[in-house]
């Protein structure tokens, strides 16, 4: 929640949240969510604000929590978060390559 409230939108963005039932990391795609960063939508600044606003209005669906935007760079079609935090969040613990999304370990 704190992320969403104090955000300055700058550059290409993605929208993320955690799934309520199991905490798994989600990325916004269209009007729904996907489990991998590479499948998510990348927004320009106006699109990002609209996506965040749409997600916040869906809080009553009780499917996800804590939506917030983060900055990414897209090069040759590959999306890379600007911050280390989001790189790790998209993959899993760097010290356990056998766990998390990097290992295909998702609660589909």
């Amino acid at each position: 929640m704190t992320h969403a409230m104090a955000q300055h939108i700058h550059g290409s963005q993605m929208l993320t949240a955690n799934r309520l039932a199991d905490g798994d990391v989600l990325y916004r795609k269209g009007a729904g969510w996907v489990l991998t960063l590479a499948d998510g939508d990348v927004y320009d600044e106006a699109g990002a604000a609209a996506a965040l606003s749409a997600a916040q209005s869906e809080a009553g669906l009780n499917t996800f929590v804590s939506p917030y935007l983060f900055e990414v760079r897209v090069s040759d079609g590959v999306i890379t978060p600007v911050k280390e935090r989001e790189i790790i969040r998209a993959a899993g613990p760097t010290v356990r390559a056998d766990l998390g999304k990097q290992a295909g370990d998702m609660n589909v």
Binding site: L20, D22, G23, N62, V65, S66, K83, I88, R96, L99
Partner: protein, 555 residues
């Protein structure tokens, strides 16, 4: 293998009932959250009161381990939970607790019901309340102990559990207890700490410290009660909490801990106010701990029936000798020893144990340690009562499960918080830094030559990795999304407590281990005979270490 019941506190009907009721209450709250009856804003404080966080990848559940004591039955349950509800492992923390990194919200009610069957729960492991009380992990076993601190820890646990006056404090409140002059519980870094002392008449009582803490504003605790009588301890502690609850700042989270209040008032004014409150409580005759209750609780911790054995550590091959010389501490009973199980194998995650390791440890506990193990704040496990003659067998069992690393207290026995690999608050990773330093100093002869050197790493200013108290402390910071690591030198969490001094600008992820090595090399070159790193640092100061640390980074 037959399960051994150790001498530790066992729940009475009140404990069992309150844990059971709380578990069902939280199960209903989870259900109401999933159906949307509760919003996230309403639910978040409820889940935090039950130790459930939302971290970087998933939920995280912090299970309370009162004063770090675990029975073999409980250890097997912790293994079961790791297997059934998590990803096959758990993480032992600097608060002597265990955390699970991947539980699903929908599973947490069932998980808590399983935990309750072994008298465990996650209550007061988060939130602005009195947290799980911690203690010397050698309690009841150490040769230097004046008195076993566990009865007091248990009395504090019962008093502080769901204490209605202290459920919404200005901020969290951490209490530690110890009964020995050698401080293994980091007393000086706690909001409040109690040390068992003996007065001039030879009677034991309690020295009470207040206002210590880490975080962004570290302070060493100060003495607020020189000698509190045992029957008065709850009245005295309640007095401290009342002064804090009334005057601690609630307008600024960074200034809300009792360390800030203590230093704003000054210790003399703090003491005056506490003593005034204490006199009022005493005048009403409230909160005296009945001697019969002290005796009843103490009886649970009665020393086991130690056999009469010769005091003789067996000899063995080089690996066994290395382990006994480093991981064995002196027990008060002849023929017995305290054995540290290092959770710091080089290349592994500090504090992590797999479900299989936990089960194997439970077997070792039953066979060799009267069914008991302790979690240390240094993220290791401790077998408190083992026969010296069993040490070779214990060592062989530990070797089989990869937990025979002979590095307790050495440079590779590193405290590290979960950091940015798991934690939502972190600015930088801690675990890979611990691993890279451990790898660099992997050679055991070199570690022994360096001697006692405590490295402690935190991934943010909240200091869960105790970096302020490290002989070498490392703080991870975020510079525009990139991890940097600041060095601090000269900290100590022991009886000679001190706050580490910040060296200067940070190092990159790839530079930090080399910088640590250059710092250690200065110690090796400058130490006097028998001098530990900390003592050399205190003698010669920061300058030579700083010059060396930045030399190569600048080149």
């Amino acid at each position: 293998m037959s399960e051994v019941t150790p001498n530790m506190y066992r729940y009475d009907e009140f404990d069992a009932q309150f844990v059971s009721e709380r578990t069902e209450q939280f199960a209903a709250q989870v259900e109401r959250r999933l159906t949307g009856e509760l919003t996230e804003d309403q639910f978040k404080p409820l889940r935090l009161m039950n130790g459930l966080y939302l971290q970087l990848h998933a939920y995280m559940l912090r299970v309370a381990v009162p004063y770090g004591t675990i029975s073999s039955r409980q250890m097997r349950m912790l293994a079961h939970i790791a297997r059934k509800y998590d990803k096959g492992y758990g993480h032992f923390t600097t608060r002597q607790n265990i955390q699970y990194n991947w539980p699903k919200l929908v599973d947490v009610p069932a998980l808590l019901r399983d935990l309750a069957t072994v008298e465990m729960h996650a209550i007061q492991t988060s939130g602005n309340c009195i947290r799980n009380v911690t203690a010397d992990h050698f309690a009841g076993a150490a040769a230097d102990e004046i008195e076993d601190p566990r009865p007091l820890a248990e009395i504090v646990r019962q008093w502080s559990s769901l204490h209605p006056e202290f459920v919404f404090l200005p901020r969290k409140f951490k209490i530690a207890v110890s009964g020995a002059p050698n401080d293994r519980a980091a007393l000086a870094y706690h909001d409040m700490a109690v040390e068992i002392v003996r007065n001039a008449e030879g009677r034991t009582g309690y020295k009470v410290l207040v206002g210590g803490g880490m975080g962004r504003t570290p302070y060493i605790a100060q003495v607020i009660g020189d000698f509190v009588e045992k029957t008065d301890i709850l009245a005295f502690m309640e007095s401290v909490l009342r002064v804090y609850n009334e005057q601690g700042r609630r307008d600024n989270i960074y200034k809300a801990r009792i360390k800030i209040l203590t230093n704003a008032l000054g210790i003399d004014e703090m003491r005056r106010q506490v003593e005034k409150e204490f006199a009022e409580i005493k005048a009403r005759g409230a909160l005296t701990v009945p001697q019969a209750e002290i005796d009843r609780i103490t009886a649970y911790f009665a020393p086991p029936a130690f056999e009469a054995l010769p005091d003789e550590i067996p000899t063995g091959d080089k690996a066994f000798q290395a382990w006994t010389s480093q991981n064995i501490a002196k027990h008060h009973a002849p023929g017995y020893a305290i054995a540290t199980i290092s959770l710091k194998a080089v290349g592994e995650v500090p504090g992590d144990a797999t479900a299989d390791q936990m089960d194997a440890i439970a077997d070792i506990m039953d066979q060799f340690s009267l069914g008991e193990v302790r979690v240390s704040h240094e993220q290791n496990l401790v077998l408190p009562h083992v026969r010296q003659k069993d040490l070779p067998a214990i060592f062989a069992h530990l070797q089989k499960i990869g937990l025979a690393t002979p590095n307790a207290g050495l440079i590779t026995d590193i405290i590290a918080c979960p950091g940015l690999d798991y934690c939502d608050l972190a600015n930088a990773r801690s675990i890979p830094i611990a691993q890279s330093i451990a790898k660099k100093f992997e050679d055991l002869d070199r570690q022994h030559d360096i001697g006692e050197l405590k490295i402690k790493i935190s991934g943010c200013i909240n200091a869960c990795g105790h970096h302020h108290a490290g002989h070498i402390g490392i703080l991870g910071v975020d510079k525009k999304g990139v991890e940097f690591y600041q060095l601090q030198l000269g900290g100590s969490g022991a009886e000679d407590a001190s706050i580490g001094e910040i060296m200067g600008p940070g190092f990159t992820e790839h530079e930090i281990a080399d910088a640590v090595e250059r710092v250690v090399n200065v110690y090796i070159a400058q130490r006097n005979t028998g001098e530990r790193f900390l003592e050399t640092y205190r003698r010669i100061g920061m300058a030579p270490f700083k010059d060396a640390a930045y030399e190569k980074a600048a080149a």
